[in-house]
Structure formats: C-alpha cells, structure tokens
Subunit: 162 residues, 2 copies
DNA sequence: CAAATAGTTTAGCCTTGGCTAACAATGATA
DNA sequence: TATCATTGTTAGCCAAGGCTAAACTATTTG
C-alpha cells in the first residue's frame, strides 16, 4: 500500500452517518448511476485526447509509443484506441506517423485540460499532498459537474488571493 | 442538458493554466492511470454491494427487481451481476429469493457507504446543491484517496461546528 | 546501402457490463 | 386450486478495453 492508502477512520464517524436518510426516489437514484455510466463511456477518450494534446505541446509530437508508456498500456492497445479516436473525428493519423488533433480534438483537449487543472489545483488548495492530488484528480475529473467545478474554482481563487 | 451541466468558463482561466507545467515523470504518470483503471474494476461491485446493504436496511430485503430499477438497468444484467457477487463471496442467494450480504459483503457495504457519505457531505459543505452533490458523489467516491477523504472529513467538521 | 533496432499495426483472444427474448418459478387472486 | 402477473434466470448477442504474438515499416547505424 502506498501513502495514497493510509487508513482514516472510515467506519462509524458519528457526525455523518447517513443511516437515517431514506433512499432517494427511484427515478432520481437511477439517473445518478446513469450519469456515472455515461461518464465512463467518455473518460478514456478524454484522457487520450488530453494526453495527445499535452505531448504535442510539451514534446512537439505525439507518438504511439509514448502514449503507451505514459498510459501504462501495450502498444497494441494504443493502436486500437487511435483507430477509435480517428473514427470519432478527434485525431488524424497516417500509418506509422505521429498523431494530430482535429479541431474538435483540440477543443476536447482544452476543455479536459482545464477541468483537470481545476480539480488538481482545488485538491492542492484543500491541503492534499501533490502526489496524492494528481492521482485523485485523474479519476475525479470525469465525475465533477460544471456546478461543482465553478465552486472549486471560486475556492481556489479565495485561497490564492491570501 | 440538466442543470448538472451549466457551462462555467472552462477555457483559459488564466489563474490556473497548467500549460507551463512539465509532464509528470513517465512512471508516475503511468501509475496515475493505473490507479484509475483499478478503481474502475471495483466501483460497480462496490455500488451494488452498497445498494444491497441500503435496501436491506431501509426496505427489509434486497430483491433483484428493486436493484434493477434503482440502478436503471435490466433484470438480466442484475441477475448476471449477482452471480459474480456470489463468486466473489460478497452475497449469498438462493434462486428466486432475495439477497443477503456475507460478512465480507457487509464490511464492503459499510466502508463504501461511509466513503460515499463523506464525499456527499463534503460537497454540500462546499456549497454544492444537494441534487448535483448526489450525482457527483456517486462517481467521485471511487476516486478519492483516504488522504483526501480525511481532509474532506476535517472540512465537514469545521463547517459543521460553526 | 544493408542490417539491426525501434516503432506500428494486425489478428486473435479474454473479461466486463450492457442488451433482448424466451423460459421458469413464485405468489396473489379469482 | 388454477390462473395470471410479477419476478428471476438463461441464452445469446454486442462493444469496449485490455492482452500477446506475429508481421510490417521506418530509422539509425555499421
Ligand atoms: Mn482522467
Ligand atoms: Mn485528465
Ligand atoms: Mn456509492
Ligand atoms: Mn458510486
């Protein structure tokens, strides 16, 4: 277990036992899970596009091999994914050459990057260790509504101007 | 689009452009994505177990049909999932009867419930609307480290005692 | 410029988590 | 008690996202 996994007191923190709360109305409850399922459909795509954008920006080009090592995944997996991104109109690619983002891809990369940054900076502003904040942000970013994002941004601003 | 999706100003918030930051070291970066992939393997399981626990607690029993409507998913999908939970030693079930959690299942339900509650209460304490907070919490909960969870708990406590 | 190395793609396999349609059991009610 | 509505199961389909092994292309180097 890394320091990402120190155990806090997760059981029976009396100050916030939800046991008394009733279950949400069925329809609402179902829509919550549905939102999560939808997020899961797009998150990998977003992470790839965001990473490709970052590689182009910081390295000058995005090569499949780099994506593979960065993502911790086989090259075959990346190759397959690139085909998908292509079909979705997010990247353009010629066989055996490096990748480029389409207009739409660039837009997605920017949006994802901005969202990712807000979540990361928010966690740091909250007091979370940088290393942990990076890990948490990578997963959380896809499940944060725009409403929450705005509030996080406000929190960062307040924290910063001080 | 629901009110969950109001657009804030996501592009070019100068105060937190990460563009200057270099990419993280490769190994670290890969481990971030790996952590997310691992979370995705367990999250559905956790949500099922948590929901089963909630149904037993609030309704007296957990029936497959209720799980299906709550999750917004077909009964066939639930039936298949129950077989998996069984194999994992998280629930016991006799054909055509309602479900019970094993010791291990109960432990997981409690832990998940506690984590879910902290995230939900944290979001509300931050100022997020209850409806949105519920949606966000359902997805975020699986990507929040124990370190962050502790900090969220502290934040709630401070907010509450005031 | 030929060979070796590095990078990319393809084929084929697997698991997960959805679905629909058909069938089976249970339990309520006529 | 026989019937029917509700609930649960099974079979078979699909897409996504992993993998390894093998084939192919590009680039570097002797
Ligand atoms: Mn991510
Ligand atoms: Mn990201
Ligand atoms: Mn939950
Ligand atoms: Mn959840």
């Amino acid at each position: 277990m890394s320091d990402h996994d120190q155990s806090p007191h997760l059981t029976a923190s009396s100050s916030n036992s939800n046991s008394g709360d009733a279950l949400p109305p069925v329809g609402e409850h179902a829509r919550q899970y549905e939102t999560v399922r939808n997020a899961h459909e797009t998150e990998l795509i977003e992470d790839y596009v965001e990473l490709i954008g970052d590689l182009i920006q910081h390295r000058g080009e995005a090569r499949a091999a780099d994506i593979a090592t960065r993502m911790g995944v086989s090259q075959a997996t990346v190759s397959k994914m690139i085909r998908r991104l292509n079909e979705l109109g997010l990247v353009t690619s010629k066989p055996y050459r490096s990748l480029f983002l389409t207009e739409e891809g660039q837009k997605m990369a920017e949006t994802s990057r901005a969202r990712h940054d807000i979540v990361l900076h928010f966690l740091r502003a909250l007091g979370v260790n940088d290393h942990t904040a990076r890990i948490d942000a990578e997963g959380m970013e896809h499940h944060v509504s725009n409403e929450t994002l705005s509030i996080m941004q406000r929190f960062i601003d307040e924290q910063t101007r001080r």
